[in-house]
């Protein structure tokens, strides 16, 4: 065709952009998180010792026993196996973290995106609610709520989820605002796209990236918060959680001194998990950071 400006044919193969790399650190974190998820999902099926059985061993004197071939992470005062308990702890801690952040995202993310896109009265109301939620000190609110209710896995997750609504919602709103007035959104409207379609196809892909890294960070916060609650004895009743284990292991300074392993291993797991979540979140954000100004 005569009017075919074949600009594109003049492009050299080198024009293809260089793939960014996520890096070894990221994959290490993902591996660790994958392992944790696996453990959390399949703890009952794993060939572990029972977390509640007392493995009294008179030959060894009185518990707590220090780490040995029999008890990899040692045992606690009641001669229960710390290794088994730590892995069982992953189940509740991670489930709570995941459920909380999912709930927070479903509610906060949706409200945030909608109020950022439509603005107007929806935005004014939701912004007010966010501010009210944010002005409570979150830990105090969590303590208050958890001490009033029956503490099951679900309710604890919901409480922590409630706390994440406002920060998540605010970020979703800010991210949406940034894109809602861009010309590509206007362009979508003029080709007849409905609001729902614009939100799903034009806004969400742009908002999802900062949000996904926030999800990982938020999960880290929720895991820590759950730890804090169970440390105070306010998490899931009768369940084994990392926070509960740490609390047991650091009941008194004497315990910490004489049997540091009881607290150390749950702390280590918690630390590595939270670190991995944070690090992975950060890398994800960098990785998807599109340069829009390459002309």
């Amino acid at each position: 065709m005569s009017t075919n400006p074949a600009t594109s044919t003049a492009i050299t193969p080198d024009e293809t952009i260089v793939k960014k790399k996520l890096g070894v650190g990221f994959w290490l974190c993902v591996t660790w998180l994958g392992l944790m998820a696996f453990i959390a999902l399949f703890t009952p099926l794993l060939p572990l010792k029972s977390p509640t059985q007392n493995f009294l061993d008179p030959a060894n004197g009185r518990p707590p026993y220090s780490p040995s071939w029999k008890h990899w992470f040692g045992s606690d005062k009641d001669a229960r196996d710390v290794f088994a308990r730590t892995l069982h702890g992953a189940r509740i801690s991670l489930t709570v973290g995941f459920a909380a952040i999912t709930a927070g995202f479903l509610v906060g993310g949706t409200v945030g995106v909608i109020s950022g896109y439509f603005k107007g009265w929806i935005d004014r109301i939701s912004s007010f609610v966010f501010i009210v939620l944010l002005s409570f000190p979150s830990l105090v609110l969590a303590i208050l709520l958890t001490s009033l209710i029956e503490r099951s896995l679900l309710t604890i997750s919901l409480v922590l989820g409630l706390l994440s609504i406002a920060p998540v919602g605010r970020l979703a709103r800010a991210a949406t605002l940034q894109f809602a007035d861009r010309e590509f959104v206007l362009a979508a409207r003029q080709i007849g796209a409905t609001n729902r379609r614009i939100i799903i196809k034009e806004i969400l892909p742009n908002v999802a990236i900062p949000m996904s890294s926030l999800a990982l960070l938020g999960m880290a916060v929720a895991v820590v918060a759950e730890g804090g609650l169970s440390f105070l004895g306010l998490s899931v009743e009768k369940g084994i959680t990392w926070g509960g284990l740490i609390q047991l292991g650091s009941e008194s300074s004497k315990t910490l001194e004489e049997a540091p392993w009881i607290a150390f291993f749950p702390i280590l797991m918690l630390f590595l998990t939270v670190l991995s979540l944070n690090f992975a979140g950060d890398r994800v954000r960098n990785y998807f950071d599109v340069k829009e100004t390459t002309l």
Binding site: M1, T3, N4, P5, A6, T7, S8, T9, I11, E15, T16, I17, R182, E183, F184, L186, A187, A188, R189, Q190, I191, G192, A193, T194, R197, K201, E202, P205, N206, I209, V290, K291, E292, T293, T294, L295
Partner: protein, 341 residues
């Protein structure tokens, strides 16, 4: 009212778009004040014609373009497109009517979603309206991409930021073409581009116009570019139209002092032509409190007392050449001063 007037509207069956008394105002915060972005302008565009709109930054060109699309709807006035008053439509009929007019924006990069695939971006209109099967849609998209000079293969694999500014503008053009619109409003489509790329895009628009039988509104601030592509030009100043004429006439016989300023501001690519001393000082007044009388009177070298109190309306000074000025430079009353170039 002035800078207003409808003397220039044509009574022809070929009129595709007729805008009358278009007013667009924006509130200024909660002060109760308003920005008079567009203050009662009227114009029409015939089928197959290209109307150029020129004027300084902030004079309301984009606002006019968007008001035609009802994005947002104007404060008052009517926009009659192909016999239908768009301002009266809403909901589904509005959504449908909009597809017949498309708009291309100034910033080629920001008008494409950075996270979507280029081919998907161009496909989107067809998938919204379910035109044909998926395969037919893809075939249409590839054909149009080819047409505007983008390799469909590469488009399928790339995101907008992997293309240059000129190429992004071509992609925008492709997207606006897939629904087979009757009219395209180009809002400064070349202002952000290099001169050499600018020429490519202008040529492309001319070709597509012929091939697809399009009617164009071409907005820009550079009269040289606009003159090249337009049949008729409307010059805007501070929310009003001050001159309407065929593009040849406008350049040969500018009648409004502001048109003259615009013309003399264009850099001449010839060092032997002495640079014209810019004949206008200062900046346009604020659209929040536009001056009484003629809106150009604060900067006009010819301004008289009459200009400061009475607003001029568009009148015909030559066949098909309309100007809203009490002291036009050609035709009509004798000019107060001589043209200074």
């Amino acid at each position: 009212m002035a800078g207003t007037g409808k003397a220039h509207l044509r009574n022809s069956d070929d009129v595709l778009l007729r805008v009358e008394d278009l007013v667009v105002e924006f509130p200024v915060g909660r002060t109760g004040l308003k920005v008079n972005a567009v203050s009662g302008i009227s114009f029409d565009v015939l089928k197959g014609e290209t109307l150029g709109i020129v004027g300084e930054s902030g004079c309301g060109k984009s606002t006019t373009g968007r008001a035609i699309m009802q994005l947002p709807s104007p404060t008052s006035g009517s926009v009659i497109f192909d016999g239908t008053d768009l301002t009266a439509l809403s909901g589904e009929p509005m959504r449908e009517a909009r597809t017949k007019i498309q708009m291309i924006f100034q910033d080629p990069i920001s008008s494409l979603n950075p996270r979507r695939n280029v081919r998907d971006i161009v496909l989107e209109p067809l998938s919204i309206w379910n035109r044909g099967t998926k395969d037919e849609q893809l075939a249409t998209v590839d054909k149009i991409l080819e047409h505007v000079g983008i390799d469909p293969q590469r488009a399928a694999e790339s995101k907008p930021h992997q293309f240059s500014g000129g190429q992004c503008q071509r992609i925008s053009i492709a997207r606006s073409l897939v629904l087979n619109p009757q009219m395209i409003i180009c809002d400064e489509p070349v202002s952000a581009l290099d001169v050499s790329v600018q020429a490519q895009v202008v040529n492309l628009l001319e070709d597509l116009k012929k091939e697809f039988g399009l009617t164009l509104i071409f907005i820009a601030h550079d009269l040289a570019v606009v003159k090249n592509i337009s049949d008729r030009i409307a010059v805007m100043y501070l929310g009003k139209i001050c001159e309407v004429s065929s593009s040849e006439d406008l350049y040969r016989n500018p009648a409004h002092p502001y048109t003259d300023v615009l013309l003399s501001s264009i850099p001449v690519p010839d060092p032997t032509v002495a640079v014209k001393k810019v004949s206008v000082e200062g900046e346009p007044p604020s659209p929040v409190s536009p001056p009484a009388g003629c809106r150009f009177n604060t900067r006009c070298p010819n301004a008289s007392d009459r200009c400061r109190s009475e607003e001029p309306t568009l009148r015909e000074i030559e066949p098909s050449h309309f100007v809203a000025c009490h002291h036009p430079l050609t035709g009509g009353d004798a000019p107060v001063t001589v043209r200074n170039n």
